[in-house]
């Protein structure tokens, strides 16, 4: 069962590794700069087919021409990660093959000769096993894969005529807040009741040697911290060793910003708060009591 994996940006390791379990050839189709294709080739898929967009051409400009190539080769399995451009390529290819397209895939397998797709549902609370019947396209949403030690693949250049899409302008967004490379981040949400009380959380951040961050409503609606300091889908995407969430509910949009964190810890007075489903450690309690107790405990360490 051969698989084609569409790659347009970093963060491809899990999507490239998942079809390995099927035992067939894994072909990486890379649309992007040379460094991206070389990085993928080094991970050792069976083949790399590389489309190099001219400057100012977005990867999506190749979605329809690539779909023709896919239709001719008719691989059994198509894979892309969450990246918008990779999904655009996948959508065109899946339509060309008229195969089902399943989101949320966390694993692929062959059982008794039949293809199986495992996918996360309801925010990852349960894993469904699907039997697609024939071929399938999946959007991979599982873990990243560790670097593999396979022989490097050779890169075959794929010359395609693109559709007339163009990147008109690019401008940097937001200013650096120091969050992106912080080792530790202490973050607070609407569990903090008043602007004056931010000092309580700041004291914890200082004690931990952490940067201070917040949930979106704290910056957007209340303005208690600068907008450059909120975490989540539309804010900062960070990967600290420790992310400590204080009085934050753990909305999925918020958690999208801390997927890369090594340890997520949370303080919340609601034992059923959603954040505890995604956290490694937690304290159930009133932050107004727990945070000062934590500061006192950490101060003891230094003595």
């Amino acid at each position: 069962m051969d698989s084609w994996v569409f790659i347009t940006a970093d963060g491809w390791s899990g999507a490239l590794e998942a079809p390995r379990a099927l035992g067939g050839r894994v072909v990486a189709v890379v649309v992007g700069p040379r460094e991206l294709a070389e990085g993928v080739a080094a991970a050792g898929p069976d083949e790399v087919r590389w489309v190099e967009p001219k400057p100012g051409v977005p990867p999506e400009a190749f979605s329809l021409p690539l779909a023709d190539v896919v239709a001719a080769a008719a691989p059994a399995v198509l894979v892309a990660g969450a990246d918008p451009a990779a999904r655009a390529l996948l959508g065109a290819a899946a339509a060309a093959l008229e195969v089902p397209l399943l989101p949320g895939a966390v694993g692929l397998a062959v059982e008794d000769g039949h293809l199986r797709v495992r996918r996360a549902l309801a925010g990852g609370q349960t894993i469904e096993t699907c039997a697609p019947g024939g071929g399938v396209a999946v959007i991979y949403a599982g873990e990243d894969a560790p670097a593999a030690t396979r022989p490097e693949a050779t890169i075959e250049v794929l010359g395609l005529t693109c559709s007339p899409l163009a990147i008109g302008a690019s401008e940097p967004v937001g200013q650096a807040s120091g969050l992106s490379d912080a080792e530790r981040v202490v973050s607070f949400g609407r569990g903090v009741r008043a602007r004056e009380d931010v000092a309580i959380v700041q004291a914890l951040a200082d004690a931990c040697g952490a940067e201070l961050a917040c949930s979106m409503p704290i910056a957007d609606d209340l303005g208690w911290l600068d907008k450059s300091r909120y975490v989540g889908r539309s804010g900062n995407h960070i990967a600290p060793a420790l992310y400590l969430a204080v009085g934050i509910a753990g909305a999925p949009q918020h958690l999208e910003g801390v997927r890369g964190a090594r340890i997520v810890a949370a303080i919340n007075n609601d034992p059923d708060a959603r954040i505890f489903q995604s956290a490694d450690y937690g304290i159930v309690g009133d932050l107004y009591e727990v945070v000062p107790a934590l500061v006192a405990e950490i101060d003891k360490l230094d003595k």
């Binding site: 940006a9 977005p58 999506e60 329809l64 779909a67 918008p84 451009a85 999904r87 655009a88 959508g91 065109a92 290819a93 339509a95 089902p100 397209l101 399943l102 989101p103 996360a120 549902l121 309801a122 925010g123 609370q125 349960t126 894993i127 469904e128 096993t129 699907c130 039997a131 697609p132 019947g133 396209a137 559709s163 899409l165 163009a166 990147i167 302008a169 690019s170 401008e171 967004v173 957007d220 889908r233 539309s234 060793a241 420790l242 999925p252 949009q253 999208e256 090594r262 810890a265 034992p271 505890f276 956290a279 490694d280 450690y281 937690g282 304290i283 159930v284 309690g285 727990v290 107790a293």
Partner: protein
């Protein structure tokens, strides 16, 4: 410019009850406005600048179709017998058939949903149109679309010829409840109710073999006396080497 805005086309994952064995009870959950729908609608409304410009709604399922009509859309279509499907490709094939039926469409604006991230892409695939996903805004300039989106730390404008599908990813919750006047006006606006048979399509789905709970370690949670919890918590984080 003739635009279609697709809305209320999936169920809300928050309406799913996951039982102890991992099976899901949707508790008769109906299609509900997606978290990106308000942003998609706001973007689509800005494409309509008077003259011959027109914005048409498109929804699926047998729920209330008036959501968009009460928020500025003049008429809408509803594919009433399309259920919620696991297969994003199948959902997209029906939406694409409906867009063809509506006819003369230059742009489809649809939420680029985190929950169903294949639908917007597959609608474009089925129509064989250009597509940009993860977008925030779209504007018509000289017959082309100027689409903005965030790529890493850069805000990018992509210029796209029509016809095209634009997947809008909301950055915040933009929805506002319509007033009484808008709700009354919505009742007078036309809903074209059609079925799969009218479109000449079927809506197959993949077979499910069941669900189970993932094997994730639950959080270690301390509760009770704050000082004692704090001590346990700090020593656990020290042991992890993060404090």
């Amino acid at each position: 410019m003739r635009a279609v805005v697709v809305y209320k086309w999936s169920r809300n994952a928050a309406d799913a009850l996951v039982r102890a064995d991992g099976s899901i009870d949707w508790r008769n959950a109906k299609m509900s406005p997606g978290e990106d729908d308000p942003a998609a609608l706001a973007a689509a409304l800005r494409l309509i600048r008077g003259g011959d410009d027109e914005l048409v709604g498109l929804t699926i399922g047998d729920g209330d179709a008036s959501w968009a009509l009460a928020r500025g859309v003049a008429s809408t279509w509803s594919v009433e017998d399309l259920p919620a499907l696991a297969d994003n490709g199948s959902t997209a094939a029906v939406l694409a058939a409906a867009v063809r039926r509506i006819g003369g469409v230059d742009v489809v604006v649809i939420g680029d949903s985190r929950q169903e991230p294949g639908v917007a892409a597959a609608v474009a695939g089925r129509l064989a149109w250009s597509v940009v996903l993860g977008a925030q805004t779209v504007e018509a300039v000289d017959g082309r679309l100027h689409v903005t989106r965030r790529v890493a730390d850069v805000r990018q404008t992509v210029v796209v010829p029509t016809p095209a599908v634009i997947g809008i990813a909301a950055e915040s919750d933009l929805d506002r409840a319509p007033g009484m006047k808008e709700l009354l006006a919505a009742r007078k606006r036309p809903v074209n109710r059609i079925g799969l048979a009218d479109l000449g399509v079927t809506a197959g789905d993949v077979q499910t073999l069941g669900c189970r709970r993932p094997e994730t370690a639950p959080a270690r949670v301390f509760a009770g006396d704050p000082a004692q919890s704090a001590a346990q918590f700090v020593s656990a984080l020290r042991a992890e080497g993060v404090l």
